[in-house]
Amino acid sequence: MIRKENRMQEFTDLELKLKSVKYRKMLLKYIKQAKAGHTGGSLSCTDILNVLYNDVLNVSPENFSDKNRDRYIQSKGHSVEALYAVLADRGFYPESDLETMCQYQSKYVGHPTRKVNGIEFNTGALGHGLPISAGIALAGKKDKAAYKVFTLVGDGELAEGSNYEAAMMAAHYKLDNLVAILDHNALQITGPNREVCSPYPIDEKWKAFGWHVISIDGNSISELRETLNNIPAEVGKPTFIIANTVKGKGVSYMENEKKWHHGVPSDDEYERAIQELSTEEEELTKQLVTD
């Protein structure tokens, strides 16, 4: 595994697993409070954001205006609650700020905006993240800068043609500093991607476009660390990571259920979710002590 000097802290897999549980609890709390949010997709990408911000990106509140920082562009902007939780934990703003999420005059809106410290672009209209990221990656090449650009794309989002326009261009310019991570939870709003308007085969498409394609368990901290810290995966090619995830991950009754795309838990459901996550947290903490 490639180690980075500029990483803030080094965590064990177990510590990062604990962080994921914490983030899931946080995002559920604020979704519940705001009575709005994209629950399922936030839970599916929590582990990805956790590994990016705690193990991969050289991004911190201190260096956020540094030209050489890595970039993260969340193309599937609707899962902003996961991003809000992670950025709060990384010190971009106090967690208490999130109490205002989606309320009158709050800057914590239901999609990413640059009003919030730590967020690079206003996203939420799907199909924008990859072209933007390709632009940043191209600038990096021109400047011979060392930074990398990561973007998170939804599998339903793959229907937007702009993705393929950027895919072609990124391969043409050999943007091996560019990584697209697909949150492959196999669901979109209407139902399974395969039934709505099938994006498959995904791997062959991106290979044909000239990308290096890797398929991993997108809810596995160790696989994410291994893969995301080894960029470029192939010199001269952009990397496409198919992160196989579970929509609603971590809350049994939300997992793989389309209604939790933007479902908001009732009081009862919320209690059950927190209980499940707390049990997981206790087990992980026990392991941490015995390790």
Binding site: Q105, V109, H111, T113, A159, I189
Partner: protein
């Protein structure tokens, strides 16, 4: 005249989906085309009853409009349904060339329009759609105020041989009174008559305009309320008549104050040399405040109280 209290109807969105099922059951030629938007478009029941009449293209709004234009050219009666923010922005070039300039009678249905998506933020707001589409030749732009106008415009759209863009929100709307119970695309609908202030409004801002008229009536001020549901082609005569009859004019819209209904009315009046106190109420050119649709309306004075204040200032 005493203005009537309003009865609550359902959301225009629900009126739309119920009407589309009726039309679809009568004619197999009616197609709903969606971009992962059947849930937001309340088209679940349509899809269940008429599975052969729904076409899903995935999250791809440009494709949605291009495909719809193709279907329409092969004589299908097409309703392309997607959130207004994406439909009128992402697909603007398809709307311009494939639908409007190629004269394909597609009905573009912009759901959750204006600031209906509230705190989801500006990516999801559609405050520029009327401005963009008014500058394109050969597309009718209709913003129905209540369930009556929604139902009527859907029925008219199914018969229309011209492209049409319409948009509405998802909040329950009161049923408005009308001087004449008629609907025609391109003909303003007078909600109530008055002589001091004319409110020229469209869509979900007609109801607060009517409520403002009620508040003003208590102060002895007589308000005319016009539902200008069709912004293109604009009923110019209705604008002129209202302006001649009243001392001041207030336009109201859930849209940027630039390029929408207000500026369309101002243009008519200026060119007719009718100069009267005039105010465009809408969303100003700034980073739109976060909040629900109700919060946003209140913040920018699109409420009975706000419109009353605006009127009193203009009358001073």
């Amino acid at each position: 005249m005493t203005l009537k209290a309003l009865n609550m109807g359902r959301a225009n969105l629900e009126e739309f989906s119920a009407t589309l099922i009726e039309l679809g059951e009568k004619s197999k030629n009616i197609l709903a085309v969606t971009s992962d938007s059947r849930g937001s478009g309340k088209l679940g029941p349509f899809a269940e009853k008429l599975p052969e009449q729904i076409v899903e293209v995935g999250i791809a709004e440009q494709n949605l409009v291009g495909v719809s234009a193709g279907l329409a050219s092969a004589d299908k009666s097409v309703f392309a349904v997607s959130p207004a923010c994406f439909l009128a922005t992402r697909s603007l070039e398809q709307i311009k060339n494939d639908v409007a300039y190629s004269n394909q009678p597609v009905t573009l249905v912009g759901i959750s329009a204006g600031v209906s998506y509230g705190a989801l933020g500006t990516t999801h707001h559609s405050l520029h759609d009327v401005a963009a589409l008014r500058a394109i030749n050969n597309i009718q732009v209709v913003v129905p105020a209540d369930n009556f106008e929604t139902r009527e415009v859907i029925i008219a759209a199914a018969k229309s041989e011209k492209p049409i863009f319409l948009k509405f929100g998802k909040k329950a709307m009161p049923t408005l009174p009308r001087v004449k119970n008629e609907f025609e695309i391109g003909k303003a609908s007078t909600i109530c008559e008055g002589s001091d202030v004319a409110f020229i409004a469209c869509g979900e801002t007609v109801a607060p305009s009517y409520e403002a008229a009620q508040l003003l009536e208590k102060e002895g001020i007589s308000a005319e309320v016009i539902s200008m549901h069709t912004i293109n082609p604009l009923d110019k005569q209705a604008v002129i008549d209202a302006a001649k009859k009243c001392k001041v004019i207030v336009t109201v819209e859930e849209h940027s104050i630039y390029g929408g209904l207000g500026e369309a009315c101002a243009s008519v009046l200026m060119q007719e040399q009718i100069v009267k106190p005039f105010k465009i109420v809408g969303i100003p050119d700034e980073d739109t405040v976060t909040g629900s649709q109700g919060d946003i309306f209140k913040h920018y004075g699109i409420t009975a109280e706000g419109l009353k204040e605006t009127t009193l200032k203009l009358l001073e």
